[in-house]
Symmetry: none
Subunit: 204 residues, 4 copies
DNA sequence: TATGAATGAGTCTTCATTCAT
DNA sequence: CATGAATGAAGACTCATTCAT
């Protein structure tokens, strides 16, 4: 029995190694510039070995996104668990979202800055997997806004509308900082907090 | 003489057709997934014909950006020429920016949602041409904010910071609506105007 | 009538210009690396214009070789016209042959260092033209040897054999110096004269 | 174990097949006219398969030269091992050089009759590999001449000069016979031996 | 489980050549 | 006479993927 377990563990280890390596490479070089061979070379396995663990290149990305966005959810949950005031929770959550994007620029861009039309010819399951990644977190945003309203710290209003509007603008901060890396931005910390201040201030 | 003119017109037509087709393909499939062959196939010309009009693939995007952003500038200038109140001008300009993106999603995504690292190996001149595209419009945004301050209709503040923050968020609205086309957004008109309202309101 | 003449002269001028330019480029970059466009660019004509003067690329080379080897014949004739002693004439002729090759390395290599099999798919006329270029000069070599024998300054012998043997070795000097340009040869003047000395000495 | 061996053997077979085919094509059509595709077509493999065995086109020629000139060295060593008189050894070595060229016309022409300028844009390592090919044999020629001088069977003199001069002329015999295959040469055996006789005779 | 060999489709680009004007 | 537009074929090379072992 121990043998089977060790094997299963080893198999899982390799799977993770592939995902991690792919993530590193995607960030370094961009999705299109990463080939299966490059991934295989870096983990020192044969390219064909990767196909024992993932259906194809897109399957890697899909799994990567799922795994990564699981982390976003974990981060947001940690903030919730702190039991802070609703507005403070909202602020920290939005900030966590931005930081998360900046920490995982490649995944972020892949999921949120790629027109969905690009996935048209993709196996449906993979497409949905990539596309659905962020939905969980969007739900949390709505919850956060609802909590703030209930606490009376922001104006009453259409939660769906407020959430979408808020997400769009937080997304803009995140995506802009990632994709225009060479733009001469002012101090990023200040830029982010100033923007969040405006965003949250405009909810009152 | 008529012959030469017709020829020049035809040549220009083809040039534009290449640019338009390339733009369509870029948003449909992403920059890296668009090949000279694909462009050629769609316009039903031989791939080599494209090289009669553009030096290489990068030359296409460079021209694409320059041409398109010329239009954005024109639109913004039209608004300025109306001689409206500074705040109204600001509002309309931001709205024009968003509409421009939604009208030219391929160009917009290409210029603003492609991580700059993707073009690392590009000839410098082309790179500058692409990156410089949006700078003109960003300058106009700063002018607009300055005018509002001068008129006392928004709070005094660091114009550079305010402009960058504002751009990031307006960019988020634009990019989000383009790239997440299948997200069940609420009524777009309302979503845009609500967001702009928050954005401008938070400047007072 | 003057008009027609001028036109004919102009046409011939362009023809020569193409040949000269092609020759320059062949020397600079090698036959295969010279394209019709490059020739056209340098003379500032359209590529298609070249086809008004030459059937194709090979036709250029064929004419080039004919023209160039005409010069070899002229040089050899000049030496003959000096009316020197047969051995001196022979020596100077062989030397002229080598110098000619070094002066026109591209043509020389093209005619003498290209396996004839490479011209198999060439229009027969062009092939023969290239191939036949050197025949005239080979005849002169035989004449020269015959004259020396008649004068009793070299051993009697099979003129054809002696001429072929002599040509092979003189060709070796020429071709070797051209093709192995980066070999650390000793002083070329000395190398050539030493070799010719051995060559002629071995005829006595 | 037998499986691995058979596979290794098969892999090596294909490698050799590629080299042989490339050599044939190089002489038939010239270096520039041989494409990876043509090589692949002739061995009835996909072009990409070649890249499993050779880094690029230049890698093929580099290996081609190294492999072939190894054989020349072997032949010359065999002659040395016979322990013959120095002059006899010299004669047989020169003859072996010529025969080697005639036996491997493609390789010979490629290495010695291709102007070095053609490889200007080559990776340095490959370039050195190609150029270094013949150096070993040239060294042996100098040794042979030195031995003859020491034995007093040829005149004293500058060994470097004599060797270069001798090589140029032996090269001429070899290259001339290969490249002018359609020239109506007299009996080749006689032509070669006659020429070698003159060459060696002129060293005394 | 892992892999080495193989491939077909594709990448950008250049070229000699044709033809209507 | 000269040309601009166009093209088909080809260039070297890369890639995701398959499959027998």
């Amino acid at each position: 029995m121990g043998v089977a377990e060790r094997r299963a563990r080893e198999k899982d280890d390799l799977r993770k190694k592939i995902l991690d390596t792919a993530a590193d490479l995607f960030i370094e070089q961009g999705y299109e510039n990463v080939s299966m061979r490059k991934i295989a070379d870096r983990i020192e396995y044969a390219p064909s070995t990767i196909y024992l663990h993932f259906r194809d290149k897109v399957d890697i990305v899909a799994n990567l996104c799922a795994a990564t966005f699981g982390e976003l959810d974990r981060r947001l949950q940690e903030i919730l668990d702190l039991g802070l005031a609703p507005l403070e929770t909202l602020h920290r959550s939005l900030r966590a979202y931005i930081d998360f994007g900046l920490d995982h620029p490649s995944h972020y861009v892949f999921v949120f800055c790629t027109p969905t039309s690009m996935f048209k010819d993709m196996e449906q399951s993979s497409g949905e997997q990539i596309y659905g990644c962020g939905m969980g977190s969007f739900g949390r945003l709505k919850n956060g806004l609802t909590a703030c309203m209930a606490a009376g710290v922001i104006r009453e209003g259409d939660v769906e509308l407020l959430a979408q509007s808020t997400w769009l603008m937080v997304h803009g901060i995140t995506a802009g900082l990632i994709c225009q890396a060479e733009f001469p931005f002012v101090d990023k910390e200040m830029l982010i907090e100033h923007s969040l201040g405006r965003l949250i201030g405009s909810l009152r």
